[in-house]
Amino acid sequence: MDRIPDSLDRSKVTENLPQGMERRLVLQLMAYWRKIRENQEFPSFVDVDPFDIPDIWPHCFVIEIFRDGTEPVCRVMGDELARYVSFPLVDQSLSVVPENTLPSVALSFLDEVLDKGVPISRGDEFINHDRTKVLYRSILLPMSDDGVHISGIIGAANCREVVDGDVDRRDSA
């Protein structure tokens, strides 16, 4: 990798680098979901192998959905997401996820995914606890153990903080 010239404006570098990476994260997980789904309506968690997606697994999470209406529970939280919360979220219901954190905003459209039964990706911004504007993008993909009913969600999310003077581009998140 070539050394970045000192004369180059570093704000432009940080502005350009995350865009492609964040898009690839969403589309990588999307491609993996399509691959393990094959000809079924939804893929099964049995077919998910973190070793197949080592680059994006730290940004992934798994939510268990209960048919009896019980609140969904987080079963897996990647390390890159877990560091945005001060306590472990694994085996915790979604109601305890703190607001204005990446896990919280990443799951904000969970009901829409359950309603439509298709993968949905959204990006937006939020103000985190230290009053920094953060751009994020996440994707939620429905999973099923019986091939008919949605029994869980696999998702991924990443974000970047908006530096002063940076251009606000939601597509970049």
Partner: protein, 135 residues
């Protein structure tokens, strides 16, 4: 609010495949689906929702796949819905008329020439016999 929905044509109908809020990402994913060749047709719909009027407008911003015109039109939908009944009413026993028609035509076509040949042969034989007795 604008959203982009990818629809794929499967089992004879359009079905929602995925939803994005980014046009670029939706188009990238749509192109990947086209390149995969799994579906005969896909399209990307841009839906604009106006919260003030509570109305949505939808337009197609991308079409791809092997057959672009698999989208059901009003004519094809009407044809599909009426076809079974029309088939039952118009052709209750389609095979019977076709079986009866050819044989009679073949019989009338062969009978006359054969009869003529037989007649000619009979006349010829009679002439030979007559000549034998009279000569």
């Amino acid at each position: 609010m604008i959203s982009y929905e990818i629809h794929t044509f499967r089992a004879g109908q359009w079905k929602a495949d995925s939803v994005f809020d980014s046009r670029d990402i939706a188009l990238m994913e749509a192109q990947k689906i086209v390149d995969g060749g799994r579906y005969s047709s896909i399209q990307v719909l841009e839906e604009t929702y106006d919260e003030q009027t509570n109305k949505s407008t939808v337009k197609t911003i991308f079409k791809g796949g092997r057959k672009v015109d698999d989208r059901p039109t009003a004519k094809s939908a009407a044809r599909k819905s009426l076809a079974p009944d029309k088939r039952k009413a118009a052709r209750p026993e389609p095979k019977q008329p076709s079986r009866r028609a050819p044989p009679p035509k073949k019989r009338t076509g062969l009978v006359l020439p054969v009869a003529i040949l037989v007649l000619i042969a009979a006349i010829g034989m009679a002439a030979l016999i007559g000549l034998r007795y009279y000569t």
